[in-house]
């Protein structure tokens, strides 16, 4: 019997619904301490002093860690992709969002660990905070970082992700109508049923076993090893079972600090975030501000697109530059637009840092481009399906990056959807395929963007 294509049950389905699955928090090891973090009460403040002596002196407190305990306190999780780190594991001289961890404690009970964090004395100089990405570029805006309010390191030195394709000014000169719009999807939570959690167990021989809910065991192990300056064989990650991730459990939010506490206390340590911590201090999907102006002909061809994107990263870059690059690569959606001018910025604000979430970078642009396309159709008095079929990506068309598409499916998915909901397509669009453009589907403005013009 063939397995591929068969409707086989998921291996873990029964255990999930009968509570048989063992998640990280179900791993119970005698002698385990509880971790808690002291978090910033301010959106933006200088740290003038940190005094942990009272917490350290409390009976039942086995370890207190601050930035002084971390070999490499600032480590960018995707430094390997050329995105430098800007976020300390534990705050040293500055906090940039409410909830940013400053110190962590391991104690005999969860309640005692909480009381110990409250015994840590920190003095602050509170500063004005920045929340609106559209005010970040003003000369008198509050400063999110000393280098400015937006990420300056695309390909090393660029302060934006940009796409330039074709001749955008000619497209706007040739247009009959310009359709503009601004689109602003909100920041949302991942809302996993399992909050951020891990357990770290010291083993004989100096190894540490990290029971982790991470979506990426090797990736998270690399993050912990980089902060500690350890070789990978000092760590063993045990995972593979995650109680809801959706992108939020790529963050390695708990593993490094918990490992530091286990090292310092020589005891197993568990850190399990409360539901409030999960909602307020775990990373979110970013809010976006997107502006589109399209140069359009009266018969429904989109000649060119100008787009400006401001991505609300929150206090630190994390994966945002990657997300904005992906966003830029897909800013024409399932269609081909030959003339493009795109500028995307990763803007810092003093809110909880955003991170990857299902559809990272593209969910936002799908909403913007599709809503915009509907408005183009409405402006022209055309059927939105016809505008879609006309501009649909075809074999040999090129992406915003100039790569020819080899197997696009915009046309067949639109045809199948029309059939399913009972929309009668005009005959020309009923029989259209994704084949290389020709005839009336190859107007002059599209010739120049083709991957191999001689094929047409």
């Amino acid at each position: 019997m063939k397995a591929v294509g068969a409707r086989l049950p998921r291996y873990d389905a029964t255990e999930h619904v009968t509570s048989g699955t063992r998640y990280v928090d179900d791993v119970r090891i005698p002698g385990t301490l509880w971790a808690k973090a002291l978090r910033s009460p301010h959106d933006n403040a200088e740290i003038l002093s940190i005094d942990t002596s009272k917490a350290e002196a409390m009976a039942g407190v086995h370890a207190v860690v601050t930035f002084k305990d971390v070999h490499k306190n600032v480590h960018g999780h995707i430094e390997g992709l050329g995105i430098p780190g800007d976020e300390p594991l534990l705050a040293e001289t500055h906090v940039r969002y409410k909830g940013q961890p400053i110190a962590a404690v391991a104690a005999d009970s969860e309640a005692l660990a909480q009381r110990a964090t409250e015994a840590i004395e920190v003095t602050y100089k509170v500063l004005p905070a920045l929340f609106d990405v559209r005010k970040a570029f003003d000369a008198d805006a509050p400063q999110a970082h000393h280098w400015g309010n937006w990420y300056p390191h695309f390909e090393g030195e660029m302060d934006r992700r940009q796409i330039r394709k074709g001749d955008i000014e000619q497209a706007f000169a040739d247009a009959d109508v310009i359709v503009q719009g601004t689109y602003r999807p909100a920041a949302i939570e991942h809302v996993p049923l399992e909050t951020q959690v891990c357990q770290v167990v010291p083993e004989a021989g100096g190894r540490f076993v990290v029971y982790s809910a991470t979506q990426a065991m090797y990736f998270s192990m690399g993050v912990v090893a980089a902060h500690l300056n350890w070789p990978l064989n000092k760590l063993k990650f045990v995972g593979g079972t995650t109680g809801g991730g959706f992108g939020g459990k790529v963050d390695t939010a708990t593993e490094t600090i918990t490992t530091l506490l286990a090292i310092k206390s020589h005891r197993p340590v568990r850190w399990r975030w409360t539901r409030a911590e999960e909602f307020l201090f775990s990373s979110t999907r970013a809010a976006w501000h997107m502006e589109i102006a399209d140069a359009v002909t009266k018969d429904g061809w989109i000649l060119g697109r100008k787009m400006l994107t401001l991505h609300d990263a929150g206090a630190f870059a994390r994966f945002s530059p990657y997300g904005v690059t992906k966003h830029a690569f897909h800013h024409t959606g399932a269609y081909t637009i030959p003339n493009l001018e795109f500028n995307g910025f990763v803007v810092y604000t003093n809110r909880t840092p955003s991170t990857a979430m299902r559809g990272f970078g593209v969910t936002s642009v799908s909403f913007a481009t599709e809503t915009h396309l509907e408005r183009i159709a409405q402006t022209l008095g055309m059927d939105p399906l016809e505008v879609r079929m006309k501009n649909a990506t075809r074999i040999g068309d090129t992406s915003p990056n100039g790569i020819p598409y080899t197997d696009p499916s915009t046309v067949p998915v639109m045809q199948a959807l029309s059939g399913a909901v009972g929309i009668e397509l005009p005959a020309h669009y009923r029989t259209m395929t994704s084949a290389i453009r020709s005839g009336e589907d190859l107007p002059g403005h599209l010739v120049a963007q083709l991957g191999n013009p001689e094929d047409h």
Binding site: A3, F131, A186, V191, Q215, Y218, T363, S366, P400, T410
Partner: protein, 368 residues
């Protein structure tokens, strides 16, 4: 009549694998002495069912029953490297890693089978756990017998490893142009939303979502539908309900508990219809491409278009709350001026900032 119905559509695309590639997944496989198959990979199953998908790929690549295959993704000591479960890469990239490992194991099974049967391995195939001579089905030997012979007679562990890796695509920072495709494949989808808008309360109910997804090859159609349906409800939350910052851009008055954060629940569930298309990818396992992330991207614009169809308003800030619907209805009733520039009609002239933004590099004030 305060309730109006409308329908809107959206079409989307989404890449498979990390943007610009360079994200390997590795796997290795060993046979037990009875032929049962142990697969080791670092892939984390975050609920999408990648362990089942990968087991299906291994079973068919080897030609053994599905229940022979055990997959261990439990730790970094026994498993090989995997970049992680994100970027819609599990089925395609993780799947190719186990497929490549299984092809190596299959090759060795056939070689040893050929020795034992005294038949050229090229004339053998593996069907349901047995190595069989093509055209002579009576000449055969069980994969379990081959594994046993390898272990106890030849002194060999039958094993194989596989790595799926696509080269990193460098890009020109000025134009964004890349030299090779910055993805492993692209999936496509279309969605139709049928909604009911109450113009008295501003409440929007999604009545039905009809969705078409091209996934290349549905390795497991039931789990593809699970992704489509689960993603649809997440998309409904994005479109109508969820917001971390109710007074964005202010950071005040955040929820902090389930009772004050509106995630979709069963009462929001619309009728769902899924249609799977299979336009195979050139390089995916069995032609598969990704479904995971894109499943929540098409609903918000389809819902926004359906609201326009129902009551003639555009709400372009998500989520589309009753308050935003009522404000847009009020603005519509007040009427909007038409603007022109350089002799052209400009629709939805919302004081875009991009022109001034490009003109001046600093001290730009955005229109708020």
């Amino acid at each position: 009549m305060t309730k109006h119905q409308g329908r809107g559509i959206a079409a989307i695309e989404y890449p498979t694998g990390m943007n610009q590639n360079g994200d390997p997944s590795q796997a290795w496989i060993k046979l037990k002495m009875d032929g049962r198959v142990d697969v080791f990979a670092g892939t984390v199953d975050i609920g999408q069912g990648s362990k089942t998908i990968h087991s299906q790929i291994v079973a068919d690549t080897l030609g053994v029953p599905m229940d022979w295959v055990t997959m261990d993704t439990s730790n970094t000591d026994s498993s090989a490297f995997c970049m992680g479960t994100f970027a819609s890469r599990g089925t395609f990239i993780g799947g190719n890693a186990v497929r490549l490992a299984a092809e190596k194991v299959r090759g060795r099974i056939l070689e040893i089978g050929g020795e034992l049967l005294e038949i050229d391995p090229g004339d053998l195939e593996i069907i349901d756990g047995e190595v069989v001579a093509k055209g002579s089905p009576d000449k055969k030997i069980g994969v379990g017998d081959i594994a046993g012979a390898a272990t106890f007679v030849k002194g060999e562990l039958i094993s194989g490893q596989g790595t799926a890796l696509k080269e990193y695509a460098t890009l020109d920072p000025e134009t964004g142009a890349v030299t090779i495709p910055p993805h492993s494949a692209i999936s496509y989808a279309a969605c139709a939303a049928e909604v009911e808008v109450d113009v008295e309360t501003g409440d929007v109910r999604v009545l039905k979502l009809t969705q078409v997804y091209d996934v290349g090859c549905a390795i497991n159609p039931t789990m593809v539908e699970g992704q489509i349906e689960g993603g649809a409800i997440q998309g409904l939350g994005l479109g109508l309900l969820e917001n971390c910052y109710p007074y964005y851009p202010s950071a005040e008055h955040r929820g902090g508990q389930f009772g004050s954060y509106l995630a979709p629940s069963m009462e929001d569930l619309p009728e769902l219809e899924c249609i799977i298309l299979e336009n195979p990818s050139a390089d995916g396992p069995f032609g598969a491409k990704a479904i995971g992330e894109m499943a929540n991207n098409a609903q918000p614009p389809a819902i926004a278009a359906a609201i326009y169809d129902a009551v003639g308003i555009w709400v372009t800030e998500l989520p589309i709350t009753p308050e935003k619907v009522l404000r847009a209805l009020e603005a519509k009733a007040a009427g909007q001026p038409e603007s022109t520039r350089d002799g052209k009609v400009v629709r939805y002239d919302e004081a875009l900032s991009m022109s001034s933004f490009q003109a001046a590099e600093s001290a730009v004030r955005f229109a708020v």
